[in-house]
Symmetry: C2
Amino acid sequence: MHRVKVRVVEDALDANNTIARANRDDFDRHGVTVVNLMSAPGAGKTTLLERALRDLEGVRVGVLEGDVQGSLDADRLASLHVPVVQLNTGNGFGGECHLDANMVRSALPALPLEEIDLLIVENVGNLVCPAEFRIGEDVRIMVSSVAEGEDKPLKYPLMFRACELVVINKLDLLPHVDFDMERYLHHLDAVHPGVDTIRLSARTGEGVEEFRAWLRQVPVRAPA
Amino acid sequence: MHRVKVRVVEDALDANNTIARANRDDFDRHGVTVVNLMSAPGAGKTTLLERALRDLEGVRVGVLEGDVQGSLDADRLASLHVPVVQLNTGNGFGGECHLDANMVRSALPALPLEEIDLLIVENVGNLVCPAEFRIGEDVRIMVSSVAEGEDKPLKYPLMFRACELVVINKLDLLPHVDFDMERYLHHLDAVHPGVDTIRLSARTGEGVEEFRAWLRQVPVRAPA
């Protein structure tokens, strides 16, 4: 039984990777670099985008919002005057806990790829499954919040390993929570040695300019 | 294709429910009431248990810790001198993002069911899939943190609907975050009218006695 289950899972991931490559071909054809933005629920992905995209000069950005249900996050980003497309995973039973390549593919016709340089895909808030499904992205960014505790890299290692940047958000809460930054960085280094990190507060704006700078050089970093 | 996928999912949930009922029979035979404790990563489930179980007189408690990897939470609870069993979901590819009835069943031989009245199963931190998989529990408790934002009931409605109690944790952070309690309760009421709520801070201890009282009456509430 177990063997069969693993086989089915592997087949599903193979199928996903095939579609992810097709997405990637489409993105490449339009010269669009893609960021897969992942985090636990409530880590502050949308607030970070609200802050960072407002002054991201020189890059034409689009956003694909993944949520189980509703369009709250897409609505929040509407005032930024960038193209935002909402993708809901909640058909069927309770909703999918992640975006997969096929869901992203279904949203491509709604995205003005020829008008953007950088597409940011805000994944469903979850620290497990989003890391397992490639969507055709160039880089992955993981947003972690100091309110979540310093043990998260050890408890969800795949997620922290499957990204090129770890944003440590809600720095303004640091005086009010039991979070030892040195210990967190030690844990992170154990699961993903040398990964880029940026400490910021999306709420106050502290550190957000460093995040903007990182975003601006993503198209340069990404392999052609 | 879509139809086939939904059919497979339904079969999987049917199979899960059958095993959940077998678990439930075993729990009933031993007179054990079971709580399924769910939340997003870092909402404070383990800290809450550390606080609440220390002085939960009159009830013999056991804990089943579900994590993708590691035994950090089980280690933290070891000092409580209650039986704690760790269950890791991380075999195979990246780890399962929830506990299912079969995983819990595999842990039953390690649990001294004849020596406990109340089993608390700490699920994997995730706001989607744990709500979809019954494990043989009597009641479900959802721990939500004010640091996660007031929109979570609307974004993850199944999770907030599939529980008998919503704990609103990290009350001590309320002055430091943008969280409108009235709006949160309004959202919660929209997805699960009348559900019990307890506001507390597992960190400071405020409100934890009310949570203990709620736990103590679980065996009484549960159908025989």
